[in-house]
Structures are given as C-alpha cells and as structure tokens.
C-alpha cells in the first residue's frame, strides 16, 4: 500500500544539475553579449534603421523613432537585446507560474477529481509568482523605453515633431500610472489568491477530514477564475501587445493565455514524470497521464485555432496597420521561426499525441512536453523580439543563455517549494476518487 505521507527530497544531485544549468546559462549569456558588442558596428546600425523605417512606413505613417535616426543611438544593440531576452523569459515563466495556480483553481472550480493526486505539483509551480512579480517590475523599470515605444513622453506632446496621434489616442489606457497600477494589481492579485489557497490546502493536511477547507478553496478558486479571465487578457495586451503600440488584435489575450496554458500543462506533466522517475507519486498512473496528455493534445489544437483565427482575419481584411505585424515576421529573418512555431506547436503534438497509447506512455509524453515547452517559448520570442528589435534581432547564445538562467532559477524555486510540503494532499476529500481513476 502506498503511503500518503511521502515527501519529495530536493537532492544534491538535482541541485548540482540546476547549478550547472545556471553556470552554462551565464557563460553563454556573457559570450553572447561579447559577440554582440563586437559586431554592433555603426554602419550596420544605420542600415538597420533605414530598413526599419521602410518597414514601419508600410503602415502609411511616419514613425518618429526611425525618422529621428533610431533609438539605437541611446541604447546599444546588445543591451536592447538583453532587455528583450529578459522580457521574453519574464512573460514565458510568469505564464508557467500563474498556470500552476490556474490549474489548481480549475480543478476545484470544476470539481475535477482525477487530478487530486497531482495538485501539489501544480501548487508548487505557483511559488514562482512573487519572483515573477519582482522580475517583471524590475526589468520594466530598467528597460521600459527600449521595450515599449509608448513610454516616451514626446509621443504625447502635440508640439513635438515626434507627436504620434494614434498613440496619443490610446493615452487613456496606455499611461504610466494606470499601466503600473494594473501590473501591480494583476501580479499582486494572483499572488494573494495563491497564498490564500495554499494556506487552506496545507491546513487540510494537519487538521484532516472535513469539507470546510475544500469549500473555502473552491469559492476562492471561482473568484480567481473570474479575476484571471480579465487579468490574463489585459496582462497580455499590456505586457506583450503594447510592444507593437500601433497594432492591435482582439484575439491577443486569448492567444497568450492559450500559449501559457499549454506550456503550463506540459510543465506539470514533466514534473509529474520527473517525480515518478525518482520513485515518488506512485499513485499517479497511466490513467492520470492519459488525461493530462489529452489536455496537452486538445489545447495545442486550441492554440492553433486562436493562432489561425488571428492570422486569417488579418490576412483577409488586408488592412496595412494590421498586416504590418505579420509583415514584420514573415518577410524578415524571423520567417523560419514563424513556420517552426506552427510546426512544433501544432503539427507535432497533434500527430504525436493522437493515439491512446502515446498519451499513456511516459517516454512519449516526456518528449512531446519538452518540445511543446520549447515551442511556446519560441512563440513568445516571436511575439516580442520582432517588435522590439526589428531587423537587429537574432537567435543565439544570448537567448539560450538567458533562458537557461531563468529555467534553472525557476526550477530551483519550484522544486525547493515542492520539497517543503507533502507530495500528496492526504486529507483531500476527493483523493480516493483520484486513486480509482480509470479510463
């Protein structure tokens, strides 16, 4: 009989692998920065500015920053690229963190019982939220003028030659106090909900029995889902879509959410498999994996549906101010990434997870989850880099290095928190149903 008191030990071996990942990331990042500093020649900068002027001019509007000679004079290309990479990882990992909480809350609100055995894994992922809070606000304050064009004051001054009527028209929403307020409310709100639900979930272990704690978490989960429905969309507009300030898409909030959701599910799967391989969580069997595999399969298709809905409407309407977003990505060096993105986020999981057997085998799930995670990281790369870096963007040691650093710290936080509490919610009222889950 399995014991429900098992606790994960954050072993020295795992710690060492994470430390090595971190060290490799730092080395790659430093090498990448030096390589970028080396070839950031002045002539090249001007050439890039000329092309980006042409590119933005395709919207039919003259954009100040290109006309004024570009911002590259203020910030070095490598630094701008570093901010971009930090922002990509901020967006990707805050998504993973909040999806841990979202998955947890969803199981309560939907009264889903199959997943009870893996709830603690989802809960542990939520511990990233306070770190994400600090990182997002920190990187925003340091790199806001490079990342977000709309943060420049001269855009809103009618007397300035750089006055931008369109951005000025968005001032009621895109202004610094309101933007920062939203950022704090969203990130802070998620963390508050997380702390509340975690408190009750852990108290259940000690008190034992009863449905009171479960009811408290469920009502909190329902409120969180309402809050998250609004905040996930708005944070996607704020943190990702506002990079391309002129451009907008009504699909964008859902698009970012679906990307977060699939990668979060892949991460939960990977952590569960990791724990199972270490000999923990023996109560999670192929039936539970089958269900979470179906989730990854289904929501990969959902992501594609949103991706395509966004693309098709813009393609068909062919309004320059909308198509510029795809022109930026399809006629530049980002073109291969654009196609790889669709292939590994749709075609690959669609075919690989189609059969029943593939969803019930850890080996296949593991491969698919890793690839889906990488794919959705690329998705965020594609959302952020072309908008910030224009023709100066690339993919190299800097991107890989920053991601490895984030990954190592993220996993350290998650595994460290996972080790603090029992792996199984032994007094959870629906644990028995999860044990007998059979499909």
């Amino acid at each position: 009989m399995t014991t429900f008191d098992e606790k994960y030990t954050f072993t020295a071996k795992t710690k060492r692998s994470l430390a090595i990942t971190l060290a490799v990331g730092i080395v790659l990042l430093v090498v990448g920065i030096f390589m970028n500093m080396g070839d950031g020649g002045h002539g090249e900068e001007h050439a890039a500015t000329a092309v980006s002027e042409q590119l933005v001019a395709s919207t039919g509007r003259v954009v100040s920053e290109a006309a004024a000679g570009g911002e590259s004079h203020e910030t070095a290309t490598w630094l701008k690229r570093l901010y971009t990479d930090l922002w990509i990882n901020n967006m990707f990992f805050v998504g993973l963190g909040v999806i841990g909480l979202f998955f947890f809350a969803l199981q309560y609100a939907a009264q889903a019982y199959w997943s009870t055995a893996m709830l603690r894994v989802a809960m542990a992922i939520g511990n990233w939220l306070p770190f994400a809070f600090l990182l997002i606000i920190g990187v925003f304050f340091v790199g806001k003028h490079d990342l977000f064009h709309w943060t420049h004051d001269y855009l809103y001054d009618p007397n300035s030659p750089d006055f931008d009527a369109i951005i000025n028209g968005k001032k009621a929403y895109l202004n610094m106090p309101f933007y920062l307020g939203r950022m704090i409310v969203f990130l802070g709100g998620w963390y508050m909900f997380f702390l509340y639900m975690k408190k009750h979930a852990l108290a259940e272990d000690i008190e034992g029995g009863g449905i009171e704690r479960w009811k408290k978490i469920r009502s909190s989960a329902a409120w969180f889902l309402v809050f998250f429905a609004v905040s996930s969309s708005m944070s996607a507009w704020d943190w990702v879509m506002s990079i391309d300030t002129h451009w907008f898409s009504t699909m964008f909030g859902w698009y970012v959410f679906s990307s977060w959701w699939v990668s979060g599910l892949a991460l939960i799967t990977l952590l569960v498999i990791f724990l199972k391989e270490q000999g923990y969580l023996s109560i999670v069997n192929e039936n539970h994996l089958h269900d979470i595999g179906k989730f990854i399969f289904g929501f990969s298709i959902f992501w594609t549906y949103l991706w395509f809905s966004q693309f098709l409407l813009i393609y068909y309407a062919n309004i320059p101010e909308e198509t510029v977003y795809f022109v930026e990505r399809l006629t530049t060096q980002y073109r291969p990434v654009f196609y790889i993105n669709i292939f590994i986020n749709f075609v690959f999981p669609f075919l690989a997870l189609m059969t029943r057997d593939s969803k019930r085998q850890m080996a296949i799930l593991k491969i698919v989850s890793v690839i889906v995670l990488a794919g959705h990281w690329l998705d965020f790369y594609l959302m952020i880099t072309p908008g910030v870096m224009k023709y100066d963007g690339g993919f190299g040691f800097m991107e890989i290095g920053t991601t490895l650093i984030y990954l190592a710290i993220f996993l350290w936080v998650v595994l460290n928190n996972l080790a603090k509490h029992p792996l199984i919610a032994k007094n959870h009222p629906t644990l028995q149903e999860s044990l007998h889950h059979h499909i």
């Binding site: 395509f308 693309f311 098709l312 393609y315 068909y316 062919n318 189609m354 059969t355 029943r356 059979h438």
Partner: protein, 174 residues
C-alpha cells in the same frame, strides 16, 4: 442443425459476474458477452477484449476529408474557375483551411459512425438478439456461445452454476 445455441447464466451481483468471468476464462471457456444494467469498470480487460480499431478508421476518414477538400479547392479555385477574391492569389492556402477543417471533421465523424454501425451489425433490418429481458433491470447475464467452445452444453451449464449463476437458460437463435 442450423442457428446458434447459447447458454445464458443469470447472476444477481456484479461481483459474481466478475468471479465467473475470471474462473471460466481461466478454464479456457470463450465468453461471448456479458450484459449488465450498468457499466462495470475493468470488465473489458477481464473479458480479454482487444482495443477497438475504430480510432484508426476515424483517422483515415479524416485524412480522406483533408485530401478531398484541398484537392477540390485547389482545382476549383486555382484551375477550373479562377476568381480574384479580396486581392488574394487564385490558389491561396489560408482561406482553404476552414473548409478543409470542416470536411475533415465531417468525414471523420460520419465515417466513424457508419463504421461503427457496420462493425456492430446495427442495420435497420437487423434483429437484435435478446438473451434475457431482465438485464436492463436488475440482473446480469454471462452469455457463452456453445458452438465456439469445445466443451459440451452440460459442462458449461455446470460451470456457470458453480460460478454462482442463480439460473442457467438455453437460448437458441436462427
């Protein structure tokens, strides 16, 4: 003698059925089917049923739909009657995707339903075999096809009784 002969063991409890299936299959008896008023978890494995190949049929029908839709759209819009719509190419992929998706789903769904009908012998003129009317109420039935087993009727009836059947009936169909 034409027609099919069956022995139908009637059981009062789910557990009895499971025991009977286990013990009789252990002795090499082939069981035709088990009838129950509700779904019994795990009975498929106990009966040794193979996984259905219906998903594969569904996939192939879906693939047919995809190919059919793309061929149709490309030949119509690209070659048979090219028209400029919205300033796009004659044969442009993105506008074809929704139609392709719909035809894929349509063919996969219909194909799967009709394959299921054929595989389960569910045709309008089919005459269902009713082994016992009480199986929709409170009784469980284990049905053994006598012609598919080498053991005699008496032997099988005895085995059913020993396994806990409250009654064993003979049922013949033409």
């Amino acid at each position: 003698m034409s027609g099919k002969r069956f022995s139908v063991g009637i059981f009062d409890h789910e557990d009895g059925v499971k025991e009977a299936v286990k013990s009789m299959r252990g002795e090499g008896v082939k069981i035709q089917e088990v009838y129950s008023p509700y779904a019994i978890h795990g009975i498929d494995e106990m009966l040794g049923y193979k996984m259905s190949r219906l998903p594969m049929a569904s996939f192939l029908f879906g693939l047919t739909g995809t190919i059919l839709a793309l061929t149709m759209l490309y030949s119509m819009m690209g070659f048979d009657w090219p028209m400029i719509i919205g300033g796009k190419n004659f044969a442009a992929l993105p506008p074809f995707i929704p139609v392709t998706f719909e035809l894929t789903v349509l063919l996969a769904a219909f194909g799967m339903v009709f394959t299921f009908f054929v595989a389960s012998d569910l045709k309008p003129w089919a005459r269902p075999r009713m082994y016992d009317t009480r199986i929709t109420q409170d009784k469980f039935a284990v049905v053994v096809d006598l012609d598919a087993n080498s053991k005699s009727k008496d032997e099988i009836d005895t085995m059913l009784r020993n396994a806990g059947a409250s009654e064993v009936n003979a049922k013949n169909f033409n």
